[in-house]
Symmetry: C2
């Protein structure tokens, strides 16, 4: 039978996996430095938990699990693989009303989306999320930006830009373009979000195709295409906005101040009225990490969503969070030569000289492992040459041979595979020499 992997999925062999784990560990440690605690939730949720949270298009991208037993013959599904880490958090909050807020949780787990597989886009991928549940205001939002930024710095990407906008500004802009309900609003946001890719012309065409009129589209561009830089953008933009949008402007200003106070360099913050973020549930500031020079989209993002959790719970719980897209970050790190290069899986191979010396070889490996040294023991008494080749191919720095002469003297030959240097030493000294 042929062996195949499902489309859009990957295996991670040890060489790749070790670097991946190091990157995850860096993100984890950064989250913990800010006092976030870890949550894990099941891979699948009940289907009614997930559907209707992201929009119809997205519901089609879920991997659904067919019922066991009755119902399966006509394709009834009762569960689906989680699509993100946000809706599971909302479900957890509703099921645990005694969790004290503000609740700062992080979650690093895979999510699954049945998107068309293409370069750099996978159907199983990891997200690294932090969210602060039960805190209003700019400080909580800034802390999310600050912890995300610190992750990028820790990974060697201090030049990431953090784009900032506010959902209320976006709603006003959509109204300027002629959107009269939330459906139409979402259409405008999706189009605006592509401005940097398809340009004013492309956005205009998309909006006209979707039934918007030229005159109002022009009014939209008059609002968002600004010659100003920095805070002046907000001042200019604000003249086009209703009190709702102006609240958004105020929130953006407070967020910028707090984020800079938290140590994020001001020049990394980009006020970006075209930043729309896909999900429907945002209610306040939204943000996104980008490295435009790399031609790769978002490396992470998030925003404030004050009503999503209330859809499950009896009470509204104001929440803000960010999600780091691990897979894209890994692509960037690799392209920039910044990927960690973990060492080999073991520091030393204990070879088997022949049947008689096996027991000495085994006890030597034991001793080295007791000393905390990652030790590989060759497992079949093959020719020494094959064992040397095995150690070389795996990049082990050391190799040990214990023949009958050495065994008789409680000694071993320690070979440094990087220098070729070889010495015969007491077995008891091996750990010390390898650790040196």
């Amino acid at each position: 039978m042929a062996a195949n992997r499902p489309k859009g999925t990957r295996d991670f062999l040890p060489e790749t996996m070790a670097a991946r784990q190091q990157v995850i560990q860096t993100v984890r440690k950064t989250f913990e430095l800010f006092g976030f605690g870890e949550l894990q939730t099941p891979a699948f949720e009940r289907i009614e938990t997930l559907t209707g949270k992201y929009g119809d298009e997205t519901d089609k991208l879920m991997f659904k699990i067919i019922k066991r037993g009755s119902g399966s013959e006509n394709g009834e599904c009762d569960m689906a693989l989680r699509y993100d880490l946000t809706v599971p958090l909302a479900r957890v909050m509703a099921m645990n009303p005694d969790i004290r807020t503000p609740f700062k949780r992080y979650q690093i787990q895979p999510v699954w989306r049945a998107e068309r597989a293409q370069r750099g886009r996978f159907r199983e991928f990891y997200q690294c999320d932090v969210d602060i549940v039960g805190a209003t205001g700019a400080l909580a939002e800034a802390e999310c930006l600050a912890v995300m930024y610190r992750c990028f710095v820790a990974l060697g990407l201090p030049l990431v830009n953090l784009h900032i906008n506010d959902r209320r500004v976006l709603s006003d802009l959509a109204a300027i373009a002629g959107a009269e309900d939330t459906d139409a609003e979402l259409k405008v946001l999706i189009a605006i979000d592509k401005l940097d890719k398809i340009g004013r012309q492309g956005v205009t065409e998309e909006l006209i195709r979707r039934g918007f009129v030229q005159e109002k589209i022009d009014a939209l561009f008059a609002a968002i295409e600004r010659p100003e830089q920095g805070d002046a953008i907000l001042t200019a933009l604000s003249t086009h906005l209703t009190p709702r949008g102006q609240e958004g402007i105020t929130a953006i200003r407070a967020l910028v101040d707090a984020t800079v106070a938290m140590g994020v360099p001001a020049e990394r913050l980009v006020l970006d009225p075209t930043l729309a973020r896909g999900a429907d549930y945002y209610t306040g500031p939204v943000f996104e990490a980008q490295m435009p020079a790399l031609g790769i989209g978002s490396l992470g993002g998030g925003g404030r969503y004050d009503t999503l959790i209330g859809r499950f719970s009896k009470q509204d719980l104001p929440t803000v969070g960010v999600s780091i897209g691990l897979e894209r970050v890994l692509v960037v790190l690799e392209e920039q030569g910044l990927l960690p290069t973990p060492g080999p899986t073991a520091k030393v191979l204990v070879t088997l000289f022949n049947e008689n010396e096996i027991t000495t070889a085994i006890s030597t490996a034991n001793m080295l492992r007791d000393a905390g040294i990652a030790t590989d023991l060759y497992l079949e008494p093959k020719k020494l040459k094959a064992q040397f080749k095995y150690a070389h191919a795996r990049g082990y720095p050391f190799l040990i041979v214990i023949g009958p002469d050495e065994a008789a003297n409680n000694s071993a030959t320690l070979r440094n595979l990087e220098t070729g240097e070889q010495t015969t030493v007491a077995i008891a000294e091996l750990a010390h020499l390898i650790n040196r």
Copy 2:
């Protein structure tokens, strides 16, 4: 809408999750000490990869994913969640023929089984597997037992028993009971495996129900109910066996010797002709870790399976491995009071005294984080009392207050929440005092 979790699944909130991660980390480090490298595979596999590998009963326990688009209306499924970590490994080996063997891989990931949910049995649970692909002989088998045993020692469970048997012995015993094909053989193995639970009477009844005859069942018990202890069991058993079974006895003896040489105490090894292990694919020695005193089943187990990987690859790749059942191990650790007790998520809370001192509070939190101290910053200028309560409830050892007087002097009040002691110190000294 009501919030519910799928049956048989769990959420891990930060308190639980931290202990879980520590246990996983201990297992991971032990695997790495033996030179195993990490593999991760996708959560789902193509359905044809999984079906027919474990037996018909098991195929029913898989969570199957319905096709996207056409085929979904009549319940066609093209993928299923992985049922264990062994079949994915076989698929990976087949897809990567250039992997050098012996290949020592570990894998720590969840698996999913649609079993009836009951106390201590979950539908999503973690397995921790090591396998050595491409190595024959007792040393590779012993290394699997040794690394599993060392995990238990590292977790505080040195009194685990390692039961050992061999599939060839089991095949002979099934033949003695009258099994004439592999289907019948599997029925005998499943019955024998329950001997310690349902006794000779129970096993006899089950076998008679399944069409076996009393006389041959008696012959089976004559072979396996031995008054002997230790190696004498093997000698006595061996008189009942064909050359195939006697090969199994030889393999068990070699395995015991090698395992003891690897540092596992001889008294922890239990020669157990009734140990059957469920899966169909074992071909040589099988083993299982048990702690009978705890009334909990297997804590882990495995064996040699030399033909499974060949079902995917062109070549047979002799393989041996063990799987540690993380969930049961966690239950035992908890019952024994051996679960790690990780500290709080942060070491210190920086409170917000009032709006004016927010910037100083933020920069103090920054400074502590720069010093590597997990620091929580309160995010809303609520009453100090509420902030104290928050820090207490979370078990933070320290709390910092910076009021206007302190801020004016670049100082802060550091409160030790364990002792109640409180001192006013220079902000620059805080990190040093907290780390002390």
